[in-house]
Subunit: 931 residues, 2 copies
Amino acid sequence: MRIEAKKWVYFFSEGNAGMTDLLGGKGAHLAEMANVGFPVPPGFVISTEACNEYYAAGEEFPPALWDQVLEALRRMEKETGKRFGDPRNPLLVSARSGGKVSMPGMMETVLNLGLNEEPVRGLGDVTGTERFAYDPYRRFIGMFGRTVLGIDSSHFEAVLEQFKLKAGARLDADLGSEDLKAIVSESKRLVKAETGKEFPDDPLEQLRLSIEAVFESWNGRRAINYRNFHKIPHDLGTAVSIMAMVFGNMGDDSGAGVAFTRDPATGDKTLYGEYLANAQGEDVVAGIRTPQKVELLQLEMPEVYQELVDISDRLETHYRDVQDIEFTVERGKLYILQTRTAKRTAKAAVKAAVDMVKEGLITKEEALKRIEPGELLYSLFPRFDEGAKEEARSQGDLLARGLNASPGAATGKAVFDADRAEQLGSRGESIILVRPETSAEDVHGMLVAAGILTARGGVTSHAAVVARGLGKPCVAGCEELRIDLERRYLTAGGRVIEENEEISIDGSTGEVFAGRIPTIVPKLSEESDLIALLGWADEVRRLGVWANADYPSDAARALEFGAEGIGLCRTEHMFFEEERLPIVQKMILSAAEATALQNELIRLQEEKDRRGKLEERLAEVQRRYDTSAAAADYRSALAELMRFQREDFKGIFRVMAGKPVVIRLVDPPLHEFLPSYERVLVETTEFRIRGNDPVKLAESENLLRAIESMRETNPMLGLRGCRLGLMFGDIYEMQVRAILTAACGLAKEGIDVRPKIMIPLVGHPNEMRVLREKVEKVAREVEAEMGTMVDYKIGVMIELPRAALTADEIAHYAEFFSFGTNDLTQTTFGFSRDDAEGKFLLQYVERGILPENPFQVLDRDGVGRLIKVAVELGRKTRPDIELGICGEHGGDPSSIHFCHQVGLDYVSCSPFRVPIARLAAAQAALSAGEG
Amino acid sequence: MRIEAKKWVYFFSEGNAGMTDLLGGKGAHLAEMANVGFPVPPGFVISTEACNEYYAAGEEFPPALWDQVLEALRRMEKETGKRFGDPRNPLLVSARSGGKVSMPGMMETVLNLGLNEEPVRGLGDVTGTERFAYDPYRRFIGMFGRTVLGIDSSHFEAVLEQFKLKAGARLDADLGSEDLKAIVSESKRLVKAETGKEFPDDPLEQLRLSIEAVFESWNGRRAINYRNFHKIPHDLGTAVSIMAMVFGNMGDDSGAGVAFTRDPATGDKTLYGEYLANAQGEDVVAGIRTPQKVELLQLEMPEVYQELVDISDRLETHYRDVQDIEFTVERGKLYILQTRTAKRTAKAAVKAAVDMVKEGLITKEEALKRIEPGELLYSLFPRFDEGAKEEARSQGDLLARGLNASPGAATGKAVFDADRAEQLGSRGESIILVRPETSAEDVHGMLVAAGILTARGGVTSHAAVVARGLGKPCVAGCEELRIDLERRYLTAGGRVIEENEEISIDGSTGEVFAGRIPTIVPKLSEESDLIALLGWADEVRRLGVWANADYPSDAARALEFGAEGIGLCRTEHMFFEEERLPIVQKMILSAAEATALQNELIRLQEEKDRRGKLEERLAEVQRRYDTSAAAADYRSALAELMRFQREDFKGIFRVMAGKPVVIRLVDPPLHEFLPSYERVLVETTEFRIRGNDPVKLAESENLLRAIESMRETNPMLGLRGCRLGLMFGDIYEMQVRAILTAACGLAKEGIDVRPKIMIPLVGHPNEMRVLREKVEKVAREVEAEMGTMVDYKIGVMIELPRAALTADEIAHYAEFFSFGTNDLTQTTFGFSRDDAEGKFLLQYVERGILPENPFQVLDRDGVGRLIKVAVELGRKTRPDIELGICGEHGGDPSSIHFCHQVGLDYVSCSPFRVPIARLAAAQAALSAGEG
């Protein structure tokens, strides 16, 4: 029995656009175009399977591959009437890489294959000019030398420069054929010197080595890095397209160019591109001469231009998307060498998609599917003028590069502490808060800053999270920055920036500049195409899209962007404002003592109720409570905060009239609101050593003791969330009272308020039971006092594994679940995001130990499994339970798909991400066949 | 239709021992005894249902209850021939509380019910002595006044004392009938004055109020606290037994006593108890006169004594367990008023159970089920002589009381830092290490200490965990302690203890004493009854019992206690020994730089292999690596540690020959091995302010920077466990090499070594995949070098929710799972045990928000669910996977039951808990019907 060899090689006529897995994008589209009748030079494709098999076999060609290549080559020879390596009329070919997913510039290509001293002469004869023949030969040796033989390209460039100098040639094209011949000889000598071997003259060996080099380039460092960054699997392999060369460098009736079927920057429907006469394709990219706009071709070669326009239209109609076309004109004849879906700006992508729907070219669904939701972000944030940025770079104003932690651009005075930032910021000055890293103590400065820059911390560090929440640009973890807080300056990129000097940060790219760069602020209301697209998205999506917003201004922005509710209002951010922080600190420092007295009173009262004695002890403790300074501080601080918070909530409810507002009761550990332990420790030590101010020393020591009694080894897993509500009941009671007083007040004004009170960090149903009773009790009291009722709901944040696992029991006490996927990711993985990202997580992703950063893209196997469990259990107990997500994943498209799949009711994300979420939710519905 | 009223009241003849739910323990056993024919006075029981219904109805008798009581009373009257409230021959009754679970002394009892001025005279007539009649009357008014009317008992005592003084009476019994009459009048006047109402004379009202008072006592503060402490549900309710009074105070042929069917301290088979002639039961307990030993009754009333012995035997045979009997002799007639299973010491419980098996009274299975495994702990740890402790207490040497964090007793010199502790301890002095709290830095001191005392931290704080691991006594969280580290003394209980003064700590009770208290050290080898019992346990248990041991001495003790393997050997404890810590610190401080250079070398080498260039860059980085001080430090520190660790492992393998040893690779964050950030911060500040030693300042600043770069916000969730192995590959490699070199070395000596290498803190299968490859590579190298092979296994600690959820994938790379339930509990609940226990967890348990401290008793609903998932998934992938638990729960009986139920192969616990685990494992098998 004869075993049929596997098919590794596909002639263009055997392929089509659907075969990108096997032939790569480039190969499949060349085949498609050839079959549809576009002018494509003849050729064939070596499949990605061959590449994978090559690696599987220890970097050896699989059996029969070479025979199939030779057979295909013979067929090409027949079609072109030329022969490969023929001394008289040689066939030249290119070998181009191309995987399923485009990785521009990451892999290798070899052009002009098939030349040695004999064919080159034949080529000269056929084309009638010796110079023409030696130009590709010279190029070929350099390209082959670099790509296949691994010789540094600078060596070949040096040879070229040396001869140009000798010949007094300014451009490559100024070199004569003798110069070119000499360059060829010198380049071959160079190859011998570098590799110890002669340059391979056998065209078939050249071809074979080139195919190997293209295969190898799949696993080049750059390609691997690119795939890691873009999350492209490493096992796809590359195809190799072998195509007959056509020559744009055969005189003024020849040339090469690239063209987009629509303007890739604006999306306007007009042929857009560049063309270089008498040049090969690589020259257009290399910038040896400045290419001309493709429209000018209309004047020079009107038929060719018209044909190009026609082909462009036909390609767009054929592919139903904007195309990026590579073409060559050889002696007045147009060839298309490549077509692919064009990379374009987000703005262009949206405009083109919307236009195409209007043109009847594609459906709304196709338009929706076509836009990468994440791209929208950049069209919604302020951004720097690109030209100005380029200029700044060229002037050496680029100071450093950090992590692009929160998109957008900002310019302002560098300020090194939050207090000063607040002082200047509240005067209306634009400032950039620059800190080694930020903590809760810096929030009052962040609130007024135009942007935030930190030297340490990852993209989910405190600075990054708060900045994204505030919709402010942030560059985080900018390790090159050296900040001297004492002398108030920073150094970076060899420059010193004093406080109050202006800097500019680009949160979308991570760049930090000295000086001011002008910004452009887009407005959604002006983006009519985007508005249309999002309108279509709203028609098909099933998921609701809510926003995380802590302030009325955030809420208003969220509404503008299309949010249907507030899914997370973090009350503690309100605590950090300047006039409140001292009150909050007073409350915290008195809480423990006051609460202990209260608890004793309650216990005694209960016992007295039961047993009818104890009046004396009760009276004594009551006396202690009544005269306790701590208790008095606690009560007055709570009363003051209650008034502040009531107004905060009124503001948000007013903006969100008719829509739900989920308010999370205070969550962070209380010590976050106190000065840092380390700072007070240093101060105390200073007072102690100096010994000249015993009063301040005592004060400092007292504060130190207070903070010490509260600080925690792992604050993330300590006394926070609902544990605060259970240990310091009055704080939650104050907040609930503020929420419901605000709500009742507005309800009386006839405003439709829909407060939803959310309890954070619940791990056991009993926590929820006790707190629900408490909330209901306060609600009854407030409703009685105010003489009105509001339709409030009580829910829970599911952010601990145990909450997910016992969601059926928790649902007895919760009308809604909101998945807090930030904390759920932390506890499921055992990762502290503050520590992990800087110390190992990014390396994990780079090394492929984790497929993604789970704080950016929801981990379906672990965290997702818990969410699924919780959804099922929650619905079992309470079929109409409302389910949402309010972690940062709520704004991530892949995570939104997951939320759709598991059947959540809504996602909630930062206001700026609302448009992204609307689109992603629509795509999720469409890909589930629900559109 | 007539609705039959619910039955609330059960005559003794209607009950039996199986009805404890309904009749309470006391009531059910009275009924049982009455029915079997023991001499029990007639009576009836009001059910626990009635009590619960009473509360449900807002503290009202349920319908028909009172009628049923009256009916039962009439029946009692018939049986006794007396009438309740009869002026001539009155029936007196007692009303006694008694729930399903015994709560001794926590609830109320009223005796001598049914007296007023008329029946008391009748009683006098019938008994022939007026004095006798007024004695119970006087007692009744006091008891009723206190119990039912809520009057402080001191008032009644004052009245009694006043009349005793007046009458010149030393004992109550010296009072004459006129005195008693006057006391009665005065007590009634007191009642009027205190309550504003006359003392209720109506016997039926007295009865009704007494029943209510007993119901109420179910929810008294003491009862609630007791139930919380003993984890008794609060919804059981109490029954009320109403029984005809018999009188031990009717002369010298009367009396009252308590007796145990065996000695409750030793378990010896001999009637043991106390007897007081001419007294009521309460007098025996109250200590008004010193009771005599029950044996003496043999001389005074031989028939009664013989009857008591017979009844004792019959009761034991009937109940098949040691009984605690309350009896009264009324004019030569013996009555049994109560029987219950006797409380006895652990030693007695074991001896009695083993003896009863030998006597043929119970089966081995019954003996095994009967012993509470936790009790064994106290019979295995050194303990203080109780008498000496009592004496110390009476001398005022009890300084304070903390948490009983690790059982056992220790005496030694108080020492306030680990260095000094080590210094003195290694000279053989017995020392107690006293610290505000401990950290990894203190371990070298803890290793040599006889005991550990801390002012802060819960029962799973560092001090507690390490102490339990070391089997050393520890009192933790002793908040009353004030430690002045600078001046080196502590204050507590108003005393000052200077360094080097002796103190004694009792880790089983949490007591701290000044001075030396003699200890008693039990030996398992001397506990023949326990050995027998554990032998039976081994016959029936299915679970293996292994031990957690870090040192050969621990391992030896574990073997002595019956461990079948080492389930957790924590390699990092070895790092803390004095001579090693500097090497470890050198390794840590050089790790980052050295590893970065290594990584660059590896990357370059890979790229060179692929592309055949880069020699120069590679050479340059190699040069940098070769000349790097950090790299040199790193290499030399690792080499030194490798030699230490190899010897450590040899020691353990040798002890454990033929048995498995699970070695966990290094787990804690590396900064735990460095000095504390705060300390170095203070030092640096001091050097800076003093400004007189720039060299030391610079050194201090450097160290501070190094520590700062490593410290973490939440170290529990940071760079630790397998993340260290992935980021600093050489450290794990060093450990694996040490393990396998040791193993191969011993294998060559013919010793059967079974190393199991365990990777901690895995959350993603890829972590395990990469590390498994690494371990296997090192193993191949070592085996080749040593020319021998060992049968090693590679496994994983399942201690993160994500690991449990993806256990099927992880099992591809792991031959065993060991559940690290400490960390799994932390991450599942989101509790940092260092913070939670002190700040809220204990309150949670007290308030019933959590049923137990989940760090002590495994949480089945959350953590347990994850374990079940992991067991199922793990076995799906690898049916023969070995499953164990090595968290602290491995030594907790309830958790061991769970481990049995979910089908683990073994539990591993601290050596001292091995006997407990053997017994608990047997009980688990028996209760699953596998015995």
